[in-house]
């Protein structure tokens, strides 16, 4: 047989340029693929079985070979068989799938955290060290990375197919996903939830670097201000420090060390202070009044961007003492007392 060289070249080009299976570039990917192949196997076996029954019976019992049909009521034994066996298989899939789900959505405690803000139509990544990226994400290889994500407008969804991870990015609440990249390289980031006109343009690249390169990258692309430092500035400029001074007599509760603690609210419930709680308490303070305090904090809804909220949350997470809060407060009060002297804010 002779294949025309043009056709041959075309075929070769096809096969080399086209993808048929995604790369496995995270620690999760092999686990996901194992389940995938198991499910594929079930599908193929099921399909072959049904196909064999349909074709087998069609040939064996076609009118020409079997002119008289034999009426059969049914068979409890057979029916029980094809109820129980699929049920058992589906239950295996359920357990396997659940284990994988918990593996993908429960981050290890030592994961480094990166914030991602989704907005029409771009991804903005904010590293704790103050590196900001748009439609790009640099991560080190071999280190668990957790993404804390939020949308500024509509539903988006953050997907890295080669890592087999994906999570909806929702307006008004943080969602998280984590991964540990295993192979250096660049991989697609897609927005997979339809989000308007340029939905298909809301794509980016995640670049996996070796730890050394990553260190070089972080040093080379920092903005000079960490997220917590930005947050500290915001904390002062929004006037938060006026009430949250840390004094026993202050109008607002002491925020130093509040992150990670259990807090009792005026409505009697006890909450764990995490990123989501801090964000909600800033935007919707009347719903989150710490026991013993008056509901006097105004809402900051619409006054702080999601990036600003992330800065504040990072700041509060890092806040261990109130020393600097009080310093800043004293400075700004003395500034107000003598407003004519600019540029005296101490670093």
């Amino acid at each position: 047989m002779h294949i025309s060289p043009v056709l041959w070249q075309f075929l070769v080009k096809w096969l080399t340029n086209s993808a048929l299976f995604p790369r496995e570039a995270s620690t999760i990917a092999p686990y996901a693929d194992a389940l995938y192949f198991f499910l594929l196997l079930i599908t193929v076996v099921g399909l072959v079985l049904v196909g064999a029954l349909v074709f087998g019976f069609s040939i064996r019992y076609r009118k020409e070979r079997n002119p008289v049909a034999t009426q059969v009521e049914g068979s409890t034994l057979l029916e029980a068989t094809w109820t129980i066996i699929p049920l058992a298989l589906f239950l295996i899939c359920f357990v396997w799938g659940a284990l994988l789900y918990f593996r993908i959505y429960n981050p290890p405690t030592n994961a480094m955290n990166i914030y991602v803000v989704g907005k029409q139509w771009m991804w903005k990544a904010e590293h704790p060290g103050g590196q900001h990226e748009i439609n790009n994400l640099h991560v080190p290889m071999g280190v668990p990375v957790q993404l804390t994500m939020i949308s500024q407008d509509v539903f988006h969804s953050f997907s890295i197919p080669d890592f087999r991870v994906k999570r909806e990015v929702i307006p008004g609440r943080y969602t998280t996903v984590w991964f540990e990249a295993t192979t250096p390289g660049t991989y697609h980031i897609f927005c997979t939830q339809y989000c308007g006109t340029k939905h298909s343009g809301m794509i980016g690249e995640v670049t996996v670097l070796t730890p050394d390169e990553y260190k070089k990258w972080t040093e080379g692309s920092t903005s000079g201000m960490s997220l917590a430092q930005n947050g500290e500035r915001l904390f002062a400029s929004m006037g938060c420090n006026a009430c949250h001074t840390g004094d026993a007599a202050a109008r607002g509760p002491n925020l130093a060390g509040v992150y990670g603690s259990k807090l009792r609210l005026t409505n009697g419930s006890e909450v764990l202070v995490n990123e989501a709680y801090l964000r909600d308490a800033i935007l919707n303070p009347s719903q989150h009044v710490t026991a013993g305090y008056a509901p006097i904090m105004p809402t900051y809804q619409g006054q702080i961007s999601e990036e600003g909220l992330i800065d504040l949350v990072e700041y509060l997470k890092s806040l261990k003492t109130n020393y600097r809060v009080q310093q800043t407060l004293t400075t700004s009060e003395s500034n107000q007392a003598a407003p004519m002297t600019p540029g005296v804010v101490k670093p």
Partner: protein, 557 residues
């Protein structure tokens, strides 16, 4: 001619059949006699014409989508146009084609006849339901002509309430109105099945088609109001900013997802259950054998209807719902897959020891079984929590639901239309060209959607106007398949229309089927039966049919 040596018997009037002088088609003349009719058969024909119209509108959009995706670059239409194309494709196909497809056409036509009734319980409500459908359809077309809508068929908030600038209100209200059309059909079916069965037509003598339509009707009546409420809330939030869904107004962004899928997942079963009923009828008829395990098949429809209401959250596994509720919903989703598996095996074993012939409806039924098996089993991928994370919102899910909805439901619809065409029109469709069309659709379908499974696992997101170049090969295959599929769907439109005038005359019972509808003339009289039938046999009783035929032969002879 001996009738005992073969299950396939020939009624004496088969060769010499003529179109009966009096039937529901020529009972009255003039357009008004159709537009003001209370006859369920005429309303079914009105529905058939209107849903066919919308099917081809939706099909044109599908064609344009595939044409755009031929190349990775966004070069055929603008992004907004593309978004409108897939939104309108989804809205039209789901709400104006799939939901009413079988129940409102063949169901409307045959369900009363199958249980020995003269009409549905509320003929005027039946007509009203068609008018509501038409109003909903016209409003959808209005939204389309005025500039379209680009929210996707899911109307996801807050995109639909605050961020898009298209005709969301018009389209939302169109679906609201069309929803009542399906509520009325469901209500009518439930009452008719409960109250109007002929003497002797017990629940377990009913054809499985009636059972599956009954199950679907219950879902329509219970589920559709939730969709109606949800759409009204979307419209209110969009117009007067009531703040139910938008977090910046104090709403809950996930609430919309819960409410929408509370209807829209059961809606999938509303769409597929009547199709499963069609398949039961076809398989039994062409293997001349009662359906294997009648009771199991009947109850599996009811089980699907019940469980179908408790799985909606599987659309939201990645949306930050509680891990434990995700577990519950994944488990329930696995359970709802079992009745479908039971049905597939029961159909397969109906063939065993039968006397099988392979007319066009049977080919469609085979296509249904194969494609539905793939569609169903790929659903298990998506029900498995961890796998869903990677697969959801990609082309895998697009392929999965097209396998169920097009490969399953549309094949069942076409099978049903071919199967009952002789009864509805009194004329046969041309057999060999229709077999060709069934095979063409099957091949075209697999070529279109099989590559999309691979694309999905690669990670290509759905609703993408442009995509990375390495996905092109599979997209080219898919578009090529869509072309073949389009031809496969156009052929029936042409030859069925042709057969209205030139088709061979069918006679009462061209398939030698046992259903009550086949024991009356084709096309039927307006009142269906001259005298109320008394039922003394179970559904699919081919021995009863053989005896009856023998008697007729002796009487005539």
């Amino acid at each position: 001619m001996s009738t005992t040596s073969s299950t396939i018997v020939n009624l004496p009037d088969q060769r010499t059949a003529t179109i009966p002088k009096k039937n529901y088609i020529n009972a009255e003349d003039g357009l008004l006699s159709w537009l003001l009719t209370g006859d369920h058969k005429r309303i079914a024909m009105l529905y058939l014409i209107s849903i066919t119209f919308f099917f081809f509108i939706g099909g044109i959009f599908a064609g344009l989508i595939r044409l755009e995706l031929l190349t990775p670059q966004p070069d055929l239409v603008a992004s907004d146009t593309y978004n409108k194309l897939f939104s309108m494709h989804g809205i039209i196909m789901v709400f104006l084609f799939l939901v009413p497809s079988v129940p409102a056409t063949v169901g409307n036509f045959l369900m009363p006849i199958m249980i020995g009734a003269k009409d549905l319980a509320f003929p005027k409500i039946n007509l009203l339901s068609w008018y509501l459908y038409v109003v909903g359809g016209i409003m959808t077309l209005a939204a389309l002509v005025l500039g379209g809508v680009d929210t996707g068929w899911t109307f996801t908030t807050p995109l639909s309430t605050h961020y898009v600038n298209t005709h969301v209100v018009t389209a939302g209200l169109a679906i609201f109105v069309a929803g009542f059309s399906s509520i009325f059909t469901g209500l009518n079916f439930i009452v008719t099945i409960h109250r109007m069965r002929a003497p002797g037509m017990t629940w377990f003598r009913m054809p499985l088609f009636v059972w599956s339509n009954y199950a679907a009707s219950i879902m329509m009546v219970l589920g559709t109001p939730v969709l109606a409420i949800t759409l009204v809330l979307v419209v209110l939030e969009r117009t007067i900013h009531i703040g139910v869904f938008d977090p910046s107004l104090g709403g809950d962004p996930l609430l919309f997802q819960h409410l929408f899928w509370f209807y829209s997942h059961p809606a999938v079963y509303i769409m597929i259950l009547p199709g499963m009923g069609v398949i039961s009828e076809i398989i039994s008829t062409f293997s001349r054998k009662r359906v294997f395990g009648y009771t199991a098949v009947a109850f599996s429809s009811v089980a699907i209807a019940v469980f179908g209401f408790f799985v909606w959250e599987h659309h939201m596994f990645i949306m930050g719902v509680s891990n434990y509720s995700a577990l519950v919903f994944s488990l329930l989703t696995m359970l709802v897959a079992v009745p479908s598996a039971i049905k597939v095996f029961n159909w397969s074993f109906t063939l065993q020891k039968g006397s099988i012939t392979f007319e066009t409806p049977m080919l469609y039924a085979f296509a249904f079984i194969g494609l539905f098996t793939i569609g169903g089993l790929t659903g298990v991928f998506l029900a498995a929590l961890g796998m869903d994370i990677h697969l959801t919102e990609t082309y895998f899910i697009v392929a999965h639901f097209h396998y169920v909805m097009v490969g399953g439901m549309l094949m069942a619809f076409l099978g049903g239309v071919h199967f009952w065409w002789p009864k509805m029109t009194g004329r046969m469709y041309p057999e060999s060209i229709s077999k060709l069309s069934a095979v063409t659709s099957f091949i075209g379908f697999n070529l279109t959607f099989m590559p999309q499974f691979i694309l999905g696992y690669l990670g290509m997101p759905r609703r993408y106007h442009a995509y990375p170049a390495e996905y092109q090969v599979l997209n080219v295959l898919s578009t090529a398949g869509a072309t073949v599929l389009g031809i496969g769907f156009l052929m029936p439109l042409i030859y069925l229309t042709w057969s209205l005038k030139y088709g061979a005359i069918a006679g009462n019972n061209p398939w030698q089927a046992t259903g009550l509808e086949w024991q009356i003339q084709s096309p039927p009289l307006t009142e269906n039966f001259i005298e109320t039938p008394v039922i003394d046999y179970e559904a699919y009783d081919y021995e009863w049919l053989a005896k009856k035929t023998e008697q007729e032969v002796t009487t005539v002879g």
